[in-house]
Amino acid sequence: MRVVEVRGLKWRYRGSRAPVLKGVDLEVEKGEFLAVTGPSGAGKTTLVLALTGVIPQRLPGEMEGEVRVLGMSTLEVDVAEIAKKVAVVFEDPEIQFVMSTVEDEIALSLEVRGLSREEIREKILWALELVGLGEEFLERQPHQLSGGEKQRVAIAAAVAREPELLILDEPTSDLDPQGKEEVVEAIESVRDSLNATVIMVEHEPELIERFADRLVVLDDGVVVMEGAPQEVYSRVEEARRHAAYPPEDIELAVQLGLKPPARRELLELAALLSSSLDGLCAFPRSGGGEVVVSARDVWYAYPGGVEALRGVSLELRRGELAALMGPNGSGKTTLAKVLAGLLKSSRGEVRVMGRPVAEYSRLELSSLVGYVYQNPQHQLFCQSVFEEVAFGLKLRGVKGEELERRVGEALRFFKLEELRDEHPFFLSKGEKRRLALASVYALRSELLIVDEPTTGQDRRFGEQLMEILRQLADSGKSVLVITHSVDLALKYADRLIAMSRGRVIADAHPLDVLSDAGVVREAKLKRPLKAEICAIAQRQRRAQP
């Protein structure tokens, strides 16, 4: 029986320049686990909204084509009716939590059904258990939960209704590695226990391979590839072109000219092919120039007494791209803010260009150290792209031709010239992030600190962004990126600074850091296969006379 039938679906949001979906055809069978992937802006979330009836019933725009879910036409049957059988879990765990406690949150979905108190209670406990949360979570409030826990509550709220179709829209995107792991286990448990058809929008190829029976690749509003995950990923170049990056083992195998074998076999081969891996294992290794920022024995405690930094010492140099990594709560963002002078260390010293941070005025310091926040919307203060980039410059008294020139330079570098008069609100996620970078870049800072720029983005965007940061480092700037993506750190960074519980536990070339199992474990890093292979090859070469 077909659970989902989509025919020729086109959708244009009101106020949008072009349609987001340009003729999607899709069928999903009962009991199937379908994965949908593709680059940011391809229309994946729009497709999800079309499957729930929110498009076209609640969002203004123009639709063509037909969507039937469980036999219901999304044009004729009200969203509330469709939602009785279709449950969705979205990317951002924060916005899905509308009530004040976990119990109330899950109960909300059940109260519309006219169930008795006992039945509601039973379902709440069952759903919580399914996602690996215990009864002690019932009274917890949103601010007491981690990202992973919140997302699991969202999944619990969805499965408590025992939907016939469960849609997961990038359920792990916004989470740190620990959170991702928790949610993946929850999905595993749900898949095993719930007799539902599942559609999962996801970027991570490992997750797709693990769960999906079939993979659909969406790009530029149309389905471009479809088939079993292995089958789709084996067409590596085509998949990559549509930002459907294959799992590491397949990608590496193709790079080495091998048929995609298992991970174990690749590792065995690594020992034999050490010399042939030079091309694969060529990573940037910049020694770095002049010290831009230095920290000596820095401590920081938040007002509640929580010690976020415990004796951190490091130096950031010109021409260097450093990746700062570690689990949530390890002190990464605190360290970054202390280096930027946004937080004052309780002990120790931070120097920028050789002078103590306290000697600078806010204006001077921000001209030397630029900080880009994780959510670019937090730092877009103006009503046009041009004004946004000009904001910091105007604060510094730059005007007239000089202003025009510097803003133009920043817009060109970040490919935003055509959007100069556009309101920042209407930029895509990626454009907003580039704008945030551009507005800091225009100030010509010596050190650029970028906080988790790739979280929630597809890999193609992540690579593009890291390319830009790499260019900036190569042009003589110092760049510090806070990230959870070990792959990107390995590919682009000169240094990997690993943190755990307020301390720097490793600070070396990414390959060297990732070769240390103890560090990888403590910093909760995911060691890429590439790192393992190259580390083996490196050890082999060193062992040879």
Partner: protein, 275 residues
Amino acid sequence: MPTLLEEFVGARVGGSPYLRLHSVTRIIVPFLLSLNVLFAKDLLSVAALCSLSFAVLLLSGVPLRVVRGYLALIASVTIFIALAFMLFTKVPGRVLWELQLLRVQAERGVWEWSIVVTDASLLRTLYFSLRILSMIFIATLFIATVGDRDMLWGLRRLGLPAGITVGASLFFRGIGFFLSDFAVVKEAMEARGVDFERTGLAKRFMLYVNALIPLLSLLVTRSFEISTALETRGISPGTRLSGSYHSTPLSRGDYLVLAAICIVTLAFAGWFMCG
């Protein structure tokens, strides 16, 4: 479950029998006490009300340091009220002290602006101050003993639609969102070079405008995301959600307290009518 006061300022109310009362009781008691403010028309009745409110506040387990925080407010209110009676008007009575500030010979008389302290003005100041104090005690009782969950479940039991009940819950969530967003936005402005402390008042005012733009943009983004999530849960604004999941019956203690407060209110009303 945290109370409103705990959510606003982090002040935790210690365990007390009052907090174990039903949420309906904890909402009705301050409401009825506040009705008595209407009936307290002289110094004696307002003093009685003030004492009663303070006593109930103490019994409810609210830490006194919360009330201490109001001292500055109470002091400024008292001074302002005193000025009202001494500076802006003359309350007839025995003049205790007088100071002429300004005297203008107008076309049709003399206009004098003086500070005049009479015994009656002092008593009126005391009356108003005690009344404000009572109101503060009663309001503190409400927010220190009622949580957002109590209010939300109360709205549910009234059978109000999801648009109101879920909306009320989002109000409290919204406060949290805004406070954390504001902190980040302010910091982001500092990261761009804004120095709030060293900027003049007028410029700082305009900079706060710049801060409101991303905050409201985030509001719009969040509202679309939250509303989409709600729509997909099958809850429309008109849906009536059952309040029975958390409904518990009133206990004997609840009935006793409610009866007592009703009697007190009737007593004040009688005092007002007969006194």
